[in-house]
Assembly symmetry: D2
Homo-oligomer: 276 residues x 4
Amino acid sequence: MELKEKAFKSVSRKTRQEDTVIDIGGGVKIGGGNFTIIAGPCSVESEEQVTEIAKNVKKSGAHAMRGGAFKPRSSPYAFQGLKALGMDYLLEAKRATGLPIVTEILNIAHLGLFNDVDVIQVGARNMQNFELLKELGRTDKPILLKRGMACTIQELLMSAEYVMSEGNTKVILCERGIRTFEGVTRNTLDLSCIPIIKAASHLPVIVDPSHATGIASLVAPMSYAAMAAGADGLIIEVHNDPENALCDGDQSILPSEFDAIAKKLGKMAKIFNKNM
Amino acid sequence: MELKEKAFKSVSRKTRQEDTVIDIGGGVKIGGGNFTIIAGPCSVESEEQVTEIAKNVKKSGAHAMRGGAFKPRSSPYAFQGLKALGMDYLLEAKRATGLPIVTEILNIAHLGLFNDVDVIQVGARNMQNFELLKELGRTDKPILLKRGMACTIQELLMSAEYVMSEGNTKVILCERGIRTFEGVTRNTLDLSCIPIIKAASHLPVIVDPSHATGIASLVAPMSYAAMAAGADGLIIEVHNDPENALCDGDQSILPSEFDAIAKKLGKMAKIFNKNM
Amino acid sequence: MELKEKAFKSVSRKTRQEDTVIDIGGGVKIGGGNFTIIAGPCSVESEEQVTEIAKNVKKSGAHAMRGGAFKPRSSPYAFQGLKALGMDYLLEAKRATGLPIVTEILNIAHLGLFNDVDVIQVGARNMQNFELLKELGRTDKPILLKRGMACTIQELLMSAEYVMSEGNTKVILCERGIRTFEGVTRNTLDLSCIPIIKAASHLPVIVDPSHATGIASLVAPMSYAAMAAGADGLIIEVHNDPENALCDGDQSILPSEFDAIAKKLGKMAKIFNKNM
Amino acid sequence: MELKEKAFKSVSRKTRQEDTVIDIGGGVKIGGGNFTIIAGPCSVESEEQVTEIAKNVKKSGAHAMRGGAFKPRSSPYAFQGLKALGMDYLLEAKRATGLPIVTEILNIAHLGLFNDVDVIQVGARNMQNFELLKELGRTDKPILLKRGMACTIQELLMSAEYVMSEGNTKVILCERGIRTFEGVTRNTLDLSCIPIIKAASHLPVIVDPSHATGIASLVAPMSYAAMAAGADGLIIEVHNDPENALCDGDQSILPSEFDAIAKKLGKMAKIFNKNM
């Protein structure tokens, strides 16, 4: 089945041949020949936690930091994030390390809290929240758009088109696993979408091996596989104490494990002609 | 795999044994021994269209009318609905027929336009838009919550819990097909979820055979199958001119076809002890 | 997505307009206006077991008896069936009740044991065992062809074509659930395939609610839904002692439950113009 | 969800800690620190074709040759392979190049034709043809067992157990894509199964990027990703004239493309500590 490119004309490589390169601040770029690594905890839990992890991953070579302050949880009784306070802690970690911040928005009414955030993430469950996409299309912030669990590549590109059609050209796509019958992994990481998207679109595509697999020991091999498949970067969950993480500890790796992954990716980067 | 009932305690039949029966106005109830049919066009297109269809489906025995004024479309370039004007047309049809109105909300900021609406629909793409669910949980309107394309029964019940946890007990669940590898039908209608949900929860469950299949000729057999599987009702797309419908014409049936379906359901209702 | 009818020309309704009606012996027919119920245990366990169940289901109105002597099990260490001895027990039950026998073949080398069997079943795992299909196409036995767990409707019809292309026109199709992300039920019963297949092919289609759901309490509602969706019959697992069944006890119903289902189907048959 | 290791005890790494290394002849080994590449056409079409491709891929570093003589096709009217004649051509190519031969068996009755074959392939559609697996378990030939389109990792390992339980310890597993809702690629390559299987089992695992994606331009990135994910090798379709291939031309690459892939894999092998 072929992609229908007319439905995502701004996003299509037919409209723009060169790779879009997105400057997310702090001298960090996503797209083009760059391989960009975003790392950090699933949830912001305390100022110390997030700053410590930020310092650690920066030392290992991470280019930006992730951390959730507003958390979309299947259960209303699960930890919903530190919200505004969590945003403060993230910005404190940014001041301490200089790393650009990537964090998720759940509600357009919160947009005022995102002024100093560098990249606004739209989570998988909101990939087809078209009202949110249109509003974000009217900002000038880089948008990290995650593929929905049951969304096709065609639909991902059409959701990116929603953002671009409102004027915001800074869209970063993210593959984070799709839902299949296989239950050993949390989702099934669809790495073959990477070359498909790179051929069809000028937008950068990164991979989230943590949510895709739900298993810490799979983060390393899937990170290497993502670079090998042509991804423009990674977003990885790193926690200083995964066993006591408030969210998704099973898929979080330690800073020391992150360091080893970053080193091996550095070696691979030479073969794959990527700047890291 | 068993359902984890603790995650949806308000929704669970362990908390409330009797069926929840929801009064949606105009003397129409959903749940308990009732079989309730909601019919109408995918999109509101004009005042004449919606009023004419409303009159027709009322004559055939429909209990409520559906029609979309705000349309969630995969493409930003597809028809997005008549919006506020469409809401006016729906309310006009309500005045003309007395039928309660069911229509979809995409953005909590539009809530003010829904004052005279009888049932607010949350579409499949927003089933895990938890911010929207929480806000709707603070209203006292009946909420029609559609199952997401790739959402499990467990997750559907947990999303209903989001609404109930904020105080709104009037939640109607809706199966509308899940995404599978089979591509002849638009989705795969999962009728076995009906007895599963009826055993696990006191909330009513209806079926949308139109979106589930995407094929007009399947609406009749899947409507009968839904009643036979134990559903509390149906939501069916009916259009006076499917070939020229602005949205989803392929799955819309004519008023005359709707009339035949309603008649046969009436006969079945006696065997299945349903009030129609 | 449309079916490609050229790939199953013998099976297609374009080639033969009238429903194929298959005489399976003992005065029992499948297809046309008939609604045919096949019932019995998953596995043949003893002569007494199979004969007792056969007598019971016959009293309730079953038209044929099922029972597995050769069992395809995911594990080599699970019970593999009584094999030749099981075949003897089945034939003994046939003599005792007059019910035609339906049983599964796993290996064409066993064909000699199937001389007195009335319907040879090809299980879901063998739906694309083309060598087996071709060999069965050279017999004159009715073939019950179950849809593979991950096979499309198109592929099911093409597998039926394998049998018909060798000369055997007696093919009965069977929907038994497809594999999806939903794990509460063992598989997802795809009832919308029934009207699709009935429109595209002249062959009869029956439904297996037991394997499709894996849950005994779902057998009744899914049986009713199958008739309502237009199926030509059912194949149901019935066991006199489900808790101690050697195979699939969770999805087996008691003879008394079968009796209640058969009675309700009898009432429905009048509305759906089916001979039972 | 955890794997249930008791169901595949011979296959489990709990039973045997060291990697199984399988000698497939001609000095070629699969497993352990080796990265083994099997290349060749989907179907054997002529003696010249298969020998020419064999010579080409050998020059580029392929360790073994694949080619189908018996072809499992969804349609009975599609090319079914050259059968015995195709086997002769394969063996001729083996004599000409010294490359071990990998080819698929569809019917145990054909086993006599496989005496000089080095690896017998069981295709995805036969992964749960347990009768075939048991018979192959009584041979001493290496068996290449492909994962079924809708089979879980658990089931793949249990099918390998069928072979091992009969005494044959030479089983090579192969991931070749699973069936999902995504239709741009033919299947969805599940690379995360590689580290899962490597942790749970001592058997080697290779990847088939050609069948998994169905798109020639994806073979290179998915081959690199497979090595990066920890695979023990690849099986790749190479054809000298893909546009006129009798089978699966869309996914076949040219010998020159294969050469470039092999070269880049050679560079990666140093980082991933693989012998090539």
